[in-house]
Symmetry: C2
Subunit: 286 residues, 2 copies
């Protein structure tokens, strides 16, 4: 929004230009809600400020962006402190995709408890699903945990059930892109299958996300729009064709894990468990 404001001519209708920029940005992530939340916060701030000078608007957008960034760091840290309590005593964890320091402002969401527990001297191994098609697990999560000195092991997504069966993992924790009022949580494709596998092995499945990931306007996860991705990511994802040309694909980028498969949602405000609409409301508000 700060960058968008730099493109706005002094004579333009600032409010309208910003609204259009926000709409455009928002359209880039149909499933995730935090971006939409931050855009709305910026637009509200400008509206409330009553500013009509473009330079002043730019300055206040930048200040608000910095505030959002600082707040996100604090939120992640708060999640980490709550999650670290859950992690205590665990020697094996599993996560999917990247909800770490590379995707957030601070210590991440799914990874927050890992960083806090690691800083406290706890030893554990994190099994990182590689997360096809874009491999955020092997390219981002494993890398950042390894950099931090945390034991990370990359597995293919389809090995997760076997790793759970072998008793290597006491807890699964992932991030979320949007959480409905009843606790249903959208996250990267594969999270839902992982939650089912965790349930089958009686391994608790947790979601970690700040209050801004909750979309209380949606009664359940069925209302969360699921972004579809291009066939190329599956058929040609590594710069090499791995399926016949023109092959049909089906490529949802996210899936929704129903609340009943989630042992708890670790938020910056505390842990919602069991995950019910009532408990979500009590922690997050309307």
């Amino acid at each position: 929004m700060v960058l968008a404001a730099q493109q706005i001519a002094p004579e333009a209708d600032i409010a309208q230009a910003l609204a259009e920029a926000g709409e455009y940005l928002d359209s880039s992530r149909p499933t995730a809600v935090n971006l939409a939340w931050a855009i709305r916060r910026q637009l509200d701030m400008v509206r409330r400020s009553g500013l009509d000078d473009i330079d002043a608007v730019r300055e206040s957008l930048l200040a608000e962006a910095r505030a959002i960034h600082a707040e996100d760091e604090q939120l992640c840290l708060a999640i980490g402190k709550h999650a670290a309590e859950l992690l205590a005593g665990q020697t094996g964890l599993m996560t999917h995709c990247n909800a770490g320091a590379l995707a957030t402002a601070g210590v991440g969401t799914a990874t927050a408890g890992m960083y806090v527990a690691h800083a406290r001297g706890q030893k554990f191994t994190v099994y990182c699903d590689e997360t096809r098609p874009l491999l955020q697990g092997s390219r981002l999560t494993a890398w950042e945990l390894d950099q931090a000195g945390i034991d990370a092991v990359v597995i293919t997504d389809s090995s997760a059930a076997q790793v759970l069966k072998e008793g290597r993992v006491g807890m699964v924790i992932t991030g979320a892109d949007r959480i409905a009022a009843n606790g249903d949580a959208a996250n990267k494709i594969g999270t839902y299958g992982l939650a089912i596998a965790a349930k089958h092995h009686n391994v608790p499945f947790y979601v970690a996300a700040p209050y801004s990931t909750f979309d209380m306007s949606l009664a359940s996860g069925e209302e969360i729009p699921i972004e579809q991705r291009s066939a190329e990511e599956i058929t040609n994802g590594f710069g090499r064709r791995t399926a016949p040309a023109e092959m049909a694909t089906y490529a949802p980028a996210f899936d929704v894990t129903p609340a009943e498969l989630i042992a708890g949602i670790v938020t910056d405000r505390g842990i919602i468990s069991p995950v019910t609409a009532e408990n979500v409301k009590a922690m997050i508000g309307e």
Copy 2:
């Protein structure tokens, strides 16, 4: 074994040289049992024949190899006929890895029913898990079904649960590399997680395999050895590095699906269902 026999010198101990060749070949596939079965059949044939002339041994090995190939074609076709009954009325199927015409002598095992049903004019879509790390699903199964004019759709392995949730699939069917006496079935890594996901959605999960895939010497799947693969297949599987250098991986190549997750095993002799040690014994023998 035919090729190995061509290397045996006339003055060598034929029985011992063949046994050594068989052992070497057998060591290449610790999990799958059909190769070991065929090697044993060749060795038994030579022993029973009493032949001690190397030329005659070579000739009879080749004849037996051709007989095994022809028999495999017949076995696959028989599986196809039984499986086609199960498939009748289905419009969506799912499979994992390749147990098709490219991996067997005939119409495959998991795919056998598809080819037979297709030949009968039935219309259906097959969702093919791409099957990381080696992508047999996208590179082999999808290709061969597409060549045959069957609707194939490639999905990432981690999308399978979502596809099942959306009700696109009425039945999952895979091959097997080795089946224990109680019906536990080893197959390509990811099959077990898929069977759990199918169960969760009340979609029946079937295994298709000829009698020669059963290893009645093993009481349960826990005794099936699981081949481990190299880290490179995960971290550098497509000629491009997709994980940090020296990253730890865990790469089992197979997993075991317990009998209780299997709705039925489609063999050349008929369908074993429910899958119990008693029913396996009744169909396969000791």
